[in-house]
Symmetry: C2
């Protein structure tokens, strides 16, 4: 029996960070044996935020690919592809865009959030409004069954599911499986500053390629319980970024120590610095092997280039079939 | 020196009629020697109105192709292509959509008019809002210099011109020529019922494939001056559909007779039936050779199939180059 398919990916607007790791990368690695995995680098999507500096996207695309390989995705198992190397995705998106109302697209909660967060006012591009449809096309073009996503992306997937159902209904048969969302272990990681949203532009994250000194500095400056002035003050553990990170990045062997820290924190018997030093070591241990594997791939640029191009060719063959399937259903010329 | 390029075309939602002839077909024929002419059958566009009955589009595509050939477009000179056979057009549209604001797209006067005319309220699709961008991609994908359009389409072209300028500016060089509009001799032909808008759904037009009896019936029922009850009443010539058609479809040899009719009409010295019979003969003489040439092509379906497929392949080679050119300008992966 053929393996079920996963479609997941990144918009290359910067290097990946620990938020991406817990949100989606971890699941990608875990599932790459069980599923036929496709990972899109959505470079054309990236234009919706980088339209004035498009030349950076190509560089980010390679960085993001390195980040994926560095966390343990095996290019022999997962297929990486660049969206812009598969033009048929956009023809599929054009078909889909005829089956979603303009109002429905504007109601997409992620679109609304992004407009607010990026302060776009009413100046956003038409491409920005098309974003959920392009994403639906990314998912449906390989007929994916499962989509590992950050909690932010669940709303996008709902629109993809609606479109798959609508197209199946127009076609009178199952052209597309209805994809399911798989939210990561930690749906959304808070920033080092306690901001519920983490991001490069917010300067509140740790990159997967971060060096030890930077990790130490960032952890040292982390936001904790602001009401706790002295080591002897009782503090709050719930929602405290330091403890969230301890829970998110610890292994089984750390659990006892972390429980002890939590108890001492609540009762005012531990210094912030002691816990932060512990977290700092833990994060450095977590990042080190990733950074080292990344260096290996960095030293072979022709290899990562080959990975993305061979993957894009393979995906293109699949998408040409998908599109032919859609067109046949709608009786288009072939 | 290479010939300049024309891009023009049709959305296959029904057979073409005399309004299309004076608006654009006449110019296509006239210019096919002077320009390298590309004629798109925008079948995917047609989904924006036929999303619930997509299987009809293919049939209309062939009808519209026949209409074009029937009016004298030479498939050895003009290149016909189906939009859905050139997926790269949609990738180009995706690039363009990042450079037009959502607000600007909604302000497009033709989009606003269509929403009103078709009574779409707020139920229109996202694809419908994308329509002007898809049209811009159609024009820019072959780097057209001239676009023969109906007067309705001038606003669309303005958006295309803006996008060409924007992309050239981002690229720092001329990727696209700035296309010019060429409005037909009669910008917009009134319907047989006097409605300023003519269309199949309004049941107020004469098809280019119409039979003699139908032409006679339609002319006999034409709207004239409603205030003129008797043949002896003075009538109004300006804006009178019968006289508009006489002016639009007559040849040099008819001019004297038409002037005489106008004078007698203004002074109440002619019956409506006399003028309508004259117009009826004139229209039948106009349609007959078109209908006959159409029959020739109708009897060779494999030939029209070959024309559209060979043309689509040729255009695809051009568009792959255009897209590569855009991507190179934006430093995308290649």
């Amino acid at each position: 029996m053929a393996k079920k398919r996963i479609l997941t990916g990144d918009t290359p607007t910067g290097k990946l960070h620990i938020g991406h790791y817990v949100g989606t990368l971890e699941n990608r690695v875990k599932l790459q044996d069980q599923y036929e995995t496709f990972i899109i680098e959505a470079d054309l999507h990236a234009l919706s935020t980088l339209s004035k500096s498009p030349t950076k996207i190509n560089e980010y695309l390679h960085e993001v690919l390195l980040d994926n390989l560095a966390v343990g995705l095996d290019p022999g198992k997962a297929t990486f592809f660049a969206e812009s190397l598969v033009p048929e995705i956009y023809e599929l998106a054009a078909f889909l865009s005829m089956y979603v109302s303009h109002n429905r697209a504007l109601r997409n909660p992620t679109v609304k959030d992004e407009i607010k967060m990026k302060g776009l006012g009413d100046t956003f591009s038409l491409g920005f409004v098309n974003y959920p449809i392009y994403q639906a096309a990314d998912i449906l073009c390989v007929k994916a069954n499962l989509v590992p996503v950050g909690v932010d992306q669940v709303a996008h997937l709902e629109q993809t599911r609606e479109l798959a159902k609508d197209l199946n209904s127009v076609a009178g048969r199952e052209v597309f499986p209805i994809p399911e969302a798989l939210v990561g272990r930690v749906g959304k990681l808070v920033g080092t500053d306690g901001n519920p949203k983490m991001g490069k532009s917010l300067n509140n994250t740790i990159f997967l390629s971060e060096g030890d000194e930077e990790i130490e500095r960032k952890i040292r400056n982390m936001y904790t319980d602001p009401k706790r002035i002295h080591a002897t003050d009782p503090g709050t553990v719930d929602g405290n970024p330091v403890f969230i990170y301890l829970d998110a990045f610890s292994k089984e062997e750390h659990k006892t120590q972390i429980e002890d820290f939590k108890n001492r924190y609540k009762t005012g018997q531990v210094k912030d610095t002691e816990i932060k030093e512990y977290l700092s070591e833990l994060m450095k241990d977590f990042i080190r092997p990733i950074r080292e594997l990344r260096k290996k791939y960095e030293s072979q640029p022709e290899e990562s280039d080959r990975i993305i191009k061979a993957g894009s060719e393979r995906v293109r063959e699949i998408v040409v079939q998908t599109l032919a399937d859609v067109k046949k259903s709608l009786n288009f010329i072939s």
